[in-house]
């Protein structure tokens, strides 16, 4: 075989010592990165690696297993590659054409086949484990995705709310997922893997939080203009607190005690609000927007966009388009007094 003219061979070899320090540096950087990673899992981050429920915890365990295997594979391949690039250079090295098949069959076929079979079995085991728990008493919550908010119903109790799902801590809850328009995906990274909401179908999943707490969720299937502002919160309550929360949410709106709030109720029934929103116990019975019967009990407005304070509420009513452009609620040209009384009334809807 006639091989073409040799390439320049003047390049110096990298001294072994320098390689070692470089390796050590890389190792240090990796460790630092991992520390930062772990550190950033705490706090408010909806991290899959700080699971707060049995589903997410199982997947986090699967991740660390896969991460370990992946790290070994990547390091082995990289080392082999570096070895070839550093030690197989220079005029003294003689190529061995024709060899290598055994290497390829063992490292490229047999070893991966064994490892992958093992990994696949673990994956199947965990997939089955995420199935609905057997014999669990079934609190059913219906969640319907809308562009760009979440409707939440407790059908057995008649409670309706939006963008905030309360569940009893330590108990599995069955979610029935639907969409009113386009596809969405229901994802609370700290609690459970995501499930899509598919137009024309009902999907389901279960959700369980170990401890009381608030867990952020967000739509994970691109659903149009404001896909980026379609968050929600799952609030896991102690069982007693949950029961009273649910009973409260099932009740119609309280009668306003003050004149200003009473005027606010007039506004909501007579202005365009009622064509989209429901306040149970009043004549406002629209179905397009979130149920407002207990709006004041919720923590956020606009599907997690802004905190639910009187200031933000006023801004939202007057011109929600400035807060969340393209959302389906048109600006409301209310007089200042109407707006103020409306805010006062909504503030009583606890």
């Amino acid at each position: 075989m006639a091989i073409g003219r040799p390439m320049s061979t003047s390049r110096r070899r990298v001294p072994a010592a320098r390689t070692r320090t470089a390796t050590a540096r890389v190792a240090r950087i990796c460790c630092a990165g991992l520390l930062v990673l772990v550190a950033s899992c705490s706090g408010r981050s909806p991290s899959t690696l700080s699971p707060a429920g049995p589903g997410a915890r199982r997947v986090a365990g699967l991740w660390w297993l896969l991460f370990g295997i992946s790290a070994v594979v990547s390091v082995v391949v990289t080392l082999l590659l570096l070895w070839a690039m550093i030690r197989r250079r220079g005029p003294g090295v003689v190529p061995h054409p024709g060899s290598g098949t055994r290497f390829v069959v063992s490292l490229g076929v047999i070893v991966p086949a064994i490892v992958l079979t093992f990994v696949y079995a673990i994956g199947l085991r965990d997939m089955r484990a995420l199935e609905a728990p057997r014999g669990a008493d079934s609190l059913v919550v219906e969640v319907t995705g809308h562009q760009w908010w979440w409707e939440v119903r407790y059908p057995a109790h008649g409670a309706v709310t939006a963008n905030e799902i309360h569940i009893p801590a330590g108990r599995p809850v069955l979610l029935r997922l639907r969409t009113a328009d386009v596809n969405h995906s229901f994802w609370v990274p700290q609690l459970m893997v995501k499930t899509d909401m598919i137009a024309g179908r009902t999907t389901q999943m279960w959700l369980q939080a170990d401890r009381p707490g608030t867990y952020r969720g967000q739509c994970a299937e691109y659903c149009g203009l404001q896909h980026g502002r379609m968050a929600f919160h799952v609030v896991a309550d102690p069982p007693a607190a949950f029961t009273s929360w649910l009973a409260n949410q099932a009740r119609p709106a309280a009668e306003p005690r003050e004149a200003m709030a009473a005027r606010g109720r007039q506004v909501i029934q007579s202005a365009s609000c009622a064509s989209c929103h429901t306040v149970r116990g009043t004549s406002a019975a629209g179905r397009r927007g979130p149920d407002l019967t207990h709006l004041a009990s919720r923590r956020h407005l606009g599907a997690g966009t802004v905190p639910n304070t009187p200031g933000h509420l006023g801004g939202w009513i007057a011109d929600s388009q400035a807060v969340k452009p393209g959302n389906q609620m048109p600006p409301q040209p209310l007089s200042p007094e109407d707006l103020r009384s409306l805010i006062a009334y909504l503030g009583t809807l606890r």
């Binding site: 073409g4 899959t48 061995h96 965990d126 562009q147 893997v193 137009a199 896909h227």
Partner: protein, 646 residues
């Protein structure tokens, strides 16, 4: 006879037959020549240049997106514009850059690697290019009218259906992709026919270069994968324009049908892109390891196996849509199995290098970078084959990281390595190795800075495709790091571009075989003449340009392999590459250009709902095809069994 190298063999062939063959392969300059050419090298270069322009545009879109995401709650672009940017970025990178770029490599290299003088269907080749250029024009121009696709690159219904997507955005998507599909299909058929019928005599299938194998496998995949996509796009277009209900759930249609049809194309498409890129790696590694690729039969089998199994994994894009667990278990298994062929190829390159003599050239650096990135993308790919893990992090930034490692690491790095490797052949100029090393180093660092943090932000629960995000969710630092990384990456790519462009002006003229290459393209001048080879070689081994008997066949010019009596190539048998007969090839013609222009006008007419224009232009295109294919006096001694070749 003494041992010769590819440079000497080329010189001997050129002096014995060059002038006689050149007379039959004229090249016309000027605008007319530019429009009429059917030369595979000019068309191949054109594909690559156009695809690079589209790559730059789609890359700039990504840059804007990363600037928007650098800090929480930014307002650099409106949500609507952001959604158009990411939709067009993905669509363009997949459809208008990756595949056409690799088709450009293939068009330039196929006849050269196979030891022939043109593609099997040169006019179809020219036609394919014009269609591709036109489809890209439509899709990018739409951004100027705020009408770029805005449904994501997989355009899920009902969001993209008539009810939730007004405006022309999604018509640009469906019609643009249908139009482009004509080009891709034509190219694929051309590759298959060329590889099966025009190989140099003696090049049995088991001596065909791996790059050719990979692009043939890709072409077969294109032929089977595009019909579902075209069907889906045609149905969506009809739903939107004519009120049909294929995907309209309230009227009894099915939204999941779109997902199945799309991914039945979409996952094979990943391999359609990656396989030829792996083929580039399989071309570079042996040359710079000074030995043929290790376990060649296994690598070819792995390629073919990937092309087959690639059609059985699409549901892993749909693990979160609530399908029965039994089917999830099946598709999970298939997705695990398909990593084995990839492993075979990685360990084959490693074996080749470990048992060869490694030359650390710039192309090999890109390949080394590729191997690291592709393994990282591969291991996260295995993670996504695990149903529960997929359900947790799909549609998060983790999947964004994963597919950029696979597609940028697995395809763009080999493409850039391939550009440095074949640049002397493409342009006739050598590039600066020093600049090439800098380009590689900065691109590699920038890429990892940009995309590695996305694994972490995904694990931290950050969904993809959000135009903005609140602060304090643990995402800020990683997002900022990504944005910084993208700027470094951009710098690396700019240095790459500058290195290549400067070489065109200042680079040293390239000899025929600057690297001591393994395959036949190195046994002709750089850039090759219109006829590629003065003497068609007779192949005696796998590493043809290292094989003495093959090189000697260029010296001992046998008139049967010179074919100086016409504009001819040699037709050989499919399996063993045995000589069948010489075949006259078509000359330059404007007909493919004219046909493409009429089709372009027809698509524009459909898009703007100017039905008169659409109908007239379709009719004109049909007449042009009739003119193109009209039999004009059979060439002498062509029997019925042997069909026409234009």
């Amino acid at each position: 006879m003494q041992v010769i190298d590819a440079n000497e063999a080329h010189a001997a062939a050129q002096s014995s037959a060059g002038d006689r063959v050149a007379a039959k392969w004229p090249e016309e300059g000027g605008l007319k020549g530019w429009i009429c050419t059917v030369d595979h090298k000019r068309i191949g270069r054109r594909y690559m240049v156009t695809a690079s322009v589209y790559f730059t545009l789609a890359g700039l879109q990504a840059l804007v997106m990363r600037i928007q995401l650098a800090v929480p709650n930014a307002g650099v672009v409106t949500p609507d514009r952001y959604n158009q940017l990411f939709s067009l970025h993905g669509t363009a990178m997949i459809f208008l850059f990756a595949t056409p770029m690799l088709f450009g490599f293939g068009n330039f290299l196929f006849p050269l690697m196979l030891g022939t003088r043109d593609m099997a269907f040169p006019r179809l080749n020219a036609f394919g290019y014009w269609i591709f250029a036109g489809a890209g024009l439509i899709m990018f121009a739409s951004l100027l009218f705020d009408a770029a696709p805005n449904g994501g690159w997989f355009a899920y219904v009902p969001l993209t259906g008539p009810r939730y997507s007004e405006g022309a955005n999604l018509d640009v998507y469906t019609l643009g992709l249908l139009f482009l599909g004509v080009s891709t299909t034509a190219g694929a058929i051309n590759f298959i026919a060329t590889a099966l019928k025009l190989r140099a005599p003696g090049m049995a299938l088991n001596r065909m270069p791996v790059f050719v194998w990979t692009l043939v496998a890709t072409s077969f995949m294109v032929v089977f994968a595009l019909p579902p996509l075209n069907t889906a796009n045609a149905m969506l277009f009809m739903d939107r324009r004519f009120g049909t209900h294929f995907f309209q759930a309230p009227a009894g249609g099915d939204t999941l049908l779109w997902q199945h049809l799309f991914w039945l194309f979409g996952h094979p498409d990943v391999y359609i892109i990656v396989l030829p890129a792996l083929g580039i790696v399989s071309a570079i590694v042996p040359t710079f390891s000074r030995r043929p690729i290790a376990a060649y039969p296994l690598v070819v089998l792995a390629t073919v196996a990937t092309a087959v199994i690639g059609f059985g994994v699409w549901v892993h894009h749909m693990f979160a849509v609530g399908l029965p667990q039994l089917s999830l278990a099946f598709f999970s298994a298939a997705s695990v199995v398909i990593t084995i062929p990839a492993g075979i190829q990685i360990f084959s390159w490693l074996a080749t290098m470990l048992t060869g003599r490694v030359v650390l050239s710039v192309p090999l650096l890109w390949v080394a970078g590729f191997i690291v990135l592709f393994v990282l993308g591969g291991v996260t790919g295995v993670m996504f084959a695990m149903v529960p893990f997929d359900q947790q992090v799909t549609d998060s930034y983790f999947v964004v990281a994963h597919f950029h490692y696979v597609l940028v690491g697995g395809a763009v790095f080999p493409i850039l390595g391939g550009l440095f490797y074949w640049w002397p052949k493409f342009s006739g100029r050598m590039t600066s190795p020093r600049a090439g090393r800098w380009a590689f180093a900065i691109t590699f660092i920038g890429f990892n800075l940009a995309f590695f943090p996305m694994h972490i932000s995904g694990l931290l629960g950050m969904p993809r495709r959000i135009y903005s995000y609140p602060e304090d969710l643990g995402w800020d630092a990683w997002a900022l790091l990504s944005t910084i990384g993208v700027h470094v990456l951009t710098l690396g790519l700019l240095i790459t571009l500058a290195t290549l462009l400067i070489s065109l002006r200042r680079g040293a003229p390239a000899p025929p075989d600057p690297w001591g290459g393994e395959t036949l393209e190195w046994a002709t001048s750089s850039p090759p003449p219109t006829y590629d080879f003065a003497v068609i070689p007779r192949v005696h081994g796998l590493a043809a340009a290292w094989d003495t008997r093959t090189l000697e066949s260029l010296v001992d010019a046998d008139e049967d392999r010179v074919l100086a009596d016409g504009h001819k190539v040699l037709r050989t048998s499919e399996l063993d590459g045995e000589r069948e007969r010489a075949m006259e090839m078509p000359e330059d013609t404007p007909v493919p250009f004219v046909a493409a222009v009429f089709l372009f006008l027809a698509v524009v007419g459909l898009l703007l709902d100017w039905m008169f224009l659409a109908v007239v232009a379709f009719a004109a295109a049909a007449l042009t095809f009739a003119w193109w294919l009209w039999p004009r006096g059979a060439p002498p001694r062509r029997s019925r069994a042997e069909g026409a070749s234009a």
